[in-house]
Symmetry: C2
Subunit: 314 residues, 2 copies
């Protein structure tokens, strides 16, 4: 039995990170409401610092370290939003960060991490190389490894997004988030179950990385192999920790194709002026696909997870 954070842990995380995170706005759009047949409340984590909710969890870990622990620095292997989030959280505390990154990572992502003052450690682009390179870094530096989602402190940090959403919109019928490794969704489950026990929890997942949907259908954790989707934030597999939380709380997972994700991303930009990455657009695509899964006119909170997509030229 793996551990899981409690709502008290979430509240403690919120108190810890409140001075450094943005309290992101909750936006509505009458046109999208009409299309969905529901009232939609978008929690705008793409407007979070570093452009994604990941800054919440990373800050909770970094700010929760003792001075002695912190002085050793932190390390992770990632080329995504967690890498930027950890690098930035470390800089805020003035401690070193080592980010193990495959040589295949886009230059813009390397530049972002370096811009936050972290040290990039190159490795070849395989999971084995990432893990063995990270192990070498930990060995040489004594840094603490910070997993992107398989960590109670990370989950408690991510849970503060749903907590703020429910504080701002206290009568939601449904709370919905994208599922990759499950950190955001499992955190959303913990906050929602504590604050709105009657609310329904839905996940959104790309068809090309639907390990959580298949796990929920079969009742046991099925890892993701060879994901294939434009939702580059949702490629990873659940861990036992996040799976055990999702299994206990989720009513359903809606899977959506990449075309529907692209259309939802465009709708958010054109109709709501919100620029998000494809992973974030899964939640709107899911609501527009399954409009009758809940009674018409339901009040649905959707967490937009991030905005770090390749930029259109303005």
């Amino acid at each position: 039995m793996v551990s899981r954070p409690t709502f008290d842990d979430v509240c403690a995380a919120h108190d810890r990170i409140r001075p450094v995170v943005h309290r992101t706005p909750v936006m509505t759009c009458a046109t999208l409401d009409e299309m969905a047949g529901h009232r939609l409340f978008f929690k705008c984590e793409q407007l979070q610092r570093v452009g994604a909710f990941k800054f919440r969890g990373a800050s909770n870990v970094v700010l929760g370290l003792t001075d002695d622990e912190a002085s050793r620095g932190v390390c992770t292997h990632s080329s995504g939003n967690h890498a930027q989030a950890l690098a930035r959280a470390a800089r805020e505390r003035g401690i070193p960060a080592w980010i193990v990154m495959p040589t295949s990572a886009p230059a813009v992502k390397r530049a972002a991490v370096e811009g936050y003052g972290a040290t990039i450690v190159d490795c070849v682009p395989t999971l084995e190389a990432r893990e063995s390179t990270a192990a070498e870094v930990l060995d040489q530096t004594g840094a603490l490894f910070v997993h992107p989602y398989d960590d109670d402190r990370i989950i408690a940090g991510q849970a503060t997004a749903a907590k703020e959403l429910i504080e701002d919109v206290p009568d939601l019928d449904v709370v919905m988030a994208p599922i990759g490794g499950g950190g955001l969704m499992s955190g959303s489950c913990i906050s929602t179950a504590a604050m709105l026990p009657e609310a329904i929890l839905f996940g959104a997942e790309p068809e090309g990385a639907d390990d959580a949907a298949r796990s929920l259908a079969s009742g046991k954790l099925i890892p993701q192999t060879s994901p294939d989707t434009i939702c580059d934030g949702l490629l990873t597999s659940l861990s036992e920790r996040t799976w055990s939380i999702l299994r206990d709380h989720l009513t359903a997972i809606v899977t959506v194709g990449d075309d529907a994700v692209r259309a939802a991303q465009q709708l958010l930009l054109e109709r709501a002026k919100l620029w998000v990455e494809p992973s974030s657009a899964t939640v709107l695509a899911a609501v527009l696909k399954e409009t009758s899964a809940v009674p018409q006119g339901s009040r649905i909170g959707l967490i937009l997870s991030g905005g770090n997509a390749e930029m259109p030229r303005a």
Copy 2:
């Protein structure tokens, strides 16, 4: 001597429109702060309903009509955000709206206005044709003409954006807005002078439509002829009404070239995940051009006016 709205009018407008407008968020971005050497607070009116601050003024007019006045409907000539705003405000009250629009207006703008249930009245694309066609509509329908900015009720409505900004960030040193016809800027002057009498007021204007800057430099109203800029929301000339307010309150107007506007628009998207139209980006371009016009570390409120630009393909 033309009339001008008082801050009491602004407060009354705010009470009137509060149920129908979004209280838009104020966002910050540490990276842009570093670039500017100041603390920047972006009032996100691109996230306002219809995608622009114009919905504030239009709603103030429409909601302020008596039932008898309202039953006759409203009319304007515009192909821009004011047309959409007036159409939508009219629909909310359930009254007719006639929008005189040149046949050259983009199909997407016509579709937006029609989508809000207004009647489009075609005219040839000259100011004379717009005005004569509007006069015919007024004559035939008895509708009330609603000017996009030369109207105390419109200015009082637009002034509520700066009022909310200052309520949220009560210790600003500078308030800044783009200048087209001057409705948003003159409203911002009235709210700021009443709420933060020590604050400095700056305008931002494109070099290719710099009638306000030339007017301020010469001390008398100089109309805009043949504007040439990508800032399609800022092509119009000041009126005596808006000019008289700007003249009394503005410290300076910073003019910016279209290249600087494009760069600022891209920065807002890439670094702050905020998608705005070029007219809005003038304020950031101005701050980045004139970083030393105010002491380093000044707290600057910038009103992002709208987000209705041609959309990049996500």
